[in-house]
Symmetry: C2
Subunit: 341 residues, 2 copies
DNA sequence: ATGAAAGCGCTAACAG
DNA sequence: CTGTTAGCGCTTTCAT
């Protein structure tokens, strides 16, 4: 009874209490808790009974202190409510437990400070590894910051060779989408992808694929059809399209995001153009928006689950001791054909 | 030098190392780390220099073991990629740090086992509190399970009086939306809200509001217009509407989710009806889908940020020692008018 | 196969 | 205002 008095916190049954109750040593209780095979059935039963009776639940923090592992991964994303990132988060949250991890969410809100904090945290021992989709930091910055925890980058913003990285093949994806448009007879394809101040190189790659497809199929890629948005909003995308429609003839648009496709469709429809008869529209990311829009949007579909799986695999390997070079993995992509193109 | 040898783990600089380096006691280092005011400036500087020089970062796990607090909250949701939950998660992830917490994601995927695990975990000390949006467990079950950690329920599935709970006023919200339809002249309003096997009572409440509005405005609420879906898909919603359109005259639909509104619009449009001229459609949750759909969908908008803030406040109070009765808080809602109704 | 004891790194109570 | 020290609850050699 004496030992019961001092404690006010709940869950105060300790390993040692179970040991006392079952009249065995702590080690034996620990063995039972961990399903260690070499325990006499009789003892095991006695210990299990004590555990149940007392309602013992191991204290994770104490375990962590001694093992040095937290069993946690940080997932650092700009905004969880953006459909693409929400999808990614779902997959990560769903797959991480298979590798024995829980996931703590770190939302950077596209802020540089928050992104920096992801990499070099002021504290230690929060997580065993980090899966990070940067939007602000450049490759050099990421490579330069000293980090104390295994890190894998996801997405297309930066690729320091020293850091593990998972992405899709942006060149090939853009080439595929553009080729689809071109081979179905489109000749004036706009590229709605540039955004002012975008530090990522994803767009350069996609533009490269866009041009490659034109070259391969023998269609001139008019530079006037490479469109720039002022920001990432539906409105900015719509505005960019409005502007070009007034002065250029276009019959297709390849967008960097499904959201932009929404804006494009809106502007095109407002201009009296019909989708896809007059203008085909292709989005990017294959989010629910694309699926549910009317018309449903044809979209470049990164395999997000695979992206998540590969990223998780890489951090897990690092956590498990892999010390080698930074690895760069490519997740597959497809073009999901829907009504808009 | 001797102490450097044994350690292989990174981040192995300990508080005691800093103390030795700065030639002060551990207590003083601790005081500096915690920004404790009563430290002589000279000492503070010396300690800070040692911290920087050595790259010391406090070990959270050890701190937790002694303080008994993890500074973590679990957010348990069915699926993070559903727009409503993605929105909620964003707000929780954004607001939690203000109260000093990080957020661990727990995805239940609508599985009973996962929901049960949320409440009575086999382990202890992972998080200080839980914010939980159940979809499977009933009130009784939740109330019955012994739990060792402060819990607050969010949403509408269950309301054991013993448990803190945050929700919107479903009756009032449905009444508002229905009244909007009725006062703008609609007379045959369908309620697209029942789903087979839905354990939540949210719909009963909404139906109650739906009927109340009819009664108040003096319009007969035809029971034949209360529609049931076989599941939560766009297709099921579309199917329910197709069926009713064949045999009943309707001029408005109040949907339980924006997704259902998408399905309704699809079916209505396919039937040659125009939105909102022939049929008005109102969705629920005010997700991005509603904003970006064409036509944009008028939607019942729970104040998700407030929902998150209230929930966080409640767990935080419990964690801070509040022991009283279960509290039930109502977050505000509005009706966001868009093109569909 | 089981028991005893030494820490993991930090905080806080208690002295000084 | 600063230093000493005893744990937090668990894992894990090391004996037995």
């Amino acid at each position: 009874m004496a030992e019961r008095q001092g404690s006010t916190t709940p869950g105060r049954i300790r390993l040692v209490d179970v040991a006392a109750h079952a009249e065995v040593s702590m080690k034996t209780v620990s063995n039972v808790v961990h399903g260690h095979p070499h325990v006499r059935p009789e003892l095991r039963a006695r210990v299990q009974a004590a555990i149940d009776e007392l309602g013992y639940r191991p204290n994770l923090t104490a375990r962590r202190l001694v093992t040095g592992r937290t069993g946690m991964l940080a997932l650092a994303l700009p905004e969880m409510d953006q459909p693409y990132f929400a999808d990614l988060a779902r997959h990560v949250a769903e797959l991480a437990p298979e590798l024995g991890y829980r996931v703590v969410i770190e939302q950077t809100l596209n802020e540089m400070g928050a992104e920096r904090a992801v990499i070099s945290d002021r504290e230690n021992g929060l997580v065993d590894g980090v899966v990070f989709n940067p939007t602000q930091m450049s490759s050099d910055e990421i490579a330069g910051l000293r980090r104390d925890v295994p890190l894998v980058l996801i997405g297309e913003a930066a690729r320091p060779t020293t850091t593990d990285h998972v992405m899709i093949d942006n060149v090939a994806a853009a080439r595929d989408a553009t080729a689809h448009l071109l081979t179905s007879g489109r000749r004036r394809v706009a590229f709605l992808g540039m955004v002012n101040g975008d530090p990522s190189d994803a767009n350069a790659l996609r533009l490269q694929g866009f041009r490659a497809a034109h070259a391969e199929i023998g269609v001139h890629a008019d530079p006037a059809l490479v469109l720039t948005c002022t920001d990432y909003s539906v409105e900015a995308a719509a505005h960019a399209i409005e502007t070009v429609v007034g002065r250029q003839q276009i019959d297709a648009v390849l967008c960097r995001e499904d959201r932009f496709a929404i804006g494009a469709i809106r502007a095109l429809t407002a201009a009296g153009l019909s989708i896809p008869d007059d203008v085909a529209v292709i989005g990017w990311d294959d989010t629910q928006i694309a699926r549910w829009s009317a018309p449903a949007i044809t979209s470049v579909a990164p395999d997000k689950r695979e992206l998540a799986r590969l990223a998780l695999g890489l951090v897990h390997e690092r956590i498990s001791g892999y010390q080698g070079e930074g690895r760069h993995l490519i997740a597959p992509h497809t073009l999901v054909l829907r009504e808009s193109g």
